[in-house]
């Protein structure tokens, strides 16, 4: 009772099968790409939200900040690519976990300081010095946002007297917060990887231990990739350069 299939029908079946395979393959590929793209979007969104969640500055309304910049002459040698590597005791690749805010009184030196940004970072790789991969440590960096009251408290008596004199005995209170950073310097960002030049610092009572990110923009280089493929951002030229351009690799 078997029914004989004609050569014409066979050809149709083959063609149909190939079409089904192609359609299924296409759908599967699309689903794979779409899921990958969704994964990427989710990862990017997660990074963005992580960077916002872990950035204490993000909660300060922009209109509440008196923005100012300070011009400095710095002791760095940009002509020597390894100046920072040779100068600072620790050089590492780190992931900035958080920006915990600004401060103008340092528990390390126990004195008022130029506004600093502080936070946590996780060490990814150590190129020089005494730090361990995977360790989470505290960092500080010149340039930060503090309340106007804290800023006022940090001024010496002569500075305060002058401002009171200029304002008929009142404190200048233009905005709730004051941001002070060095001209041309970059801002540290949460959820990013950087190659950093570090100075370990401890308070006299050893209760506080942290790492100063040294060298302003020369000591904070955003990093991309990993291993031999890693590149670091030159904040002056805005070009990505090889890690070996600033780190002596064995």
């Amino acid at each position: 009772m078997s029914k004989k299939i004609s050569p014409m029908s066979k050809a149709r079946i083959y063609a149909l099968s190939i079409a089904v395979v192609l359609v299924l393959g296409g759908v599967a590929s699309y689903a794979f790409i779409a899921s990958k793209s969704t994964d990427n979007q989710l990862a990017q969104t997660a990074n963005r939200s992580q960077s916002k969640t872990n950035d204490a500055y993000a909660s300060i309304p922009s209109g509440d900040i008196q923005r100012s910049t300070t011009d400095a002459d710095i002791l760095w040698n940009v002509q020597d690519p390894y100046y920072g590597y040779n100068k600072d005791p620790i050089v590492a690749l780190v992931h900035v976990d958080s920006i915990d805010g600004g401060r103008i009184y340092s528990p390390i030196s126990e004195q008022y300081v130029f506004p600093q940004t502080i936070g946590k970072m996780t060490v990814r790789e150590v190129y020089k010095g005494d730090l361990k991969s995977g360790e989470q440590v505290s960092y500080s960096r010149p340039g930060g946002t503090v309340t106007s009251d804290e800023y006022w408290d940090s001024l010496n008596k002569q500075q305060q007297d002058k401002m009171l004199h200029l304002n008929n005995g009142k404190k200048p209170t233009e905005k709730k917060y004051v941001q002070d950073k060095f001209t041309d310097d970059i801002d540290i960002e949460a959820a990013k990887d950087y190659v950093v030049f570090l100075m370990p610092q401890s308070s006299k009572d050893a209760k506080h231990h942290e790492y100063l990110i040294d060298g302003l923009q020369y000591g904070l280089r955003e990093a991309r990739g990993s291993g031999a493929e890693m590149t670091v951002l030159n904040n002056d030229t805005k070009k990505w350069e090889s890690l070996s351009s600033i780190v002596k690799l064995n």
């Binding site: 100012s68 300070t70 011009d71 400095a72 940009v78 060298g215």
Partner: protein, 198 residues
Amino acid sequence: MASRVSRLVLAFFSIVVLCLAPVSRAFAITPTFGHKYQNGVGNVTAWLNYGSGVGYWSTYITGGANNWMYPGWSNPIYINFVSSNYGSTMDFHQNNDAYWGGGMTILAETKMFNSSGGQISPTSANWAYAEIHINNDTFRLPSFTNAQAQGTVIHEMGHAFGLAHDQGNPYSIMCQTGAGRIVQSVQKVDNDAILTLY
């Protein structure tokens, strides 16, 4: 004969032009913030916060003032030292290195303030007065020369007048020490920048 002379003259001028081309490039005017002292520089009143210890560096400060007033080219700058900071427009303070975080990286800094004492950004507004802060610890480094200390004070005073960094020209006082500044006194490019501002 006449054509030979004119050819020689032409060749001579071509050589002169070619020689001057790179020189003129190096002599580009120093950049400015685009803003300046709101009352000009004809009567800058400088005050030293002796309580901070900055008096130790007074030789460099008076030397810097003289260099800006008499750089070798005319300009409208006149600096007068005063004993009270109530009306002064250029205040000098001293800090230790811990003030800047303790990295021994900062030599000195300049901040600008409006007429009510609010700190401003010199790229966005004119200022009533400026503060120059000297890092006592980096200034005392054995490797930091007297000439560099003098140059740094002049550099900071240049900021107070409205000059920005010129990292591409080591022959400008406004090139940073860290960017390889070679000169330690006011240059014509710096004086020309003052003339564009005031």
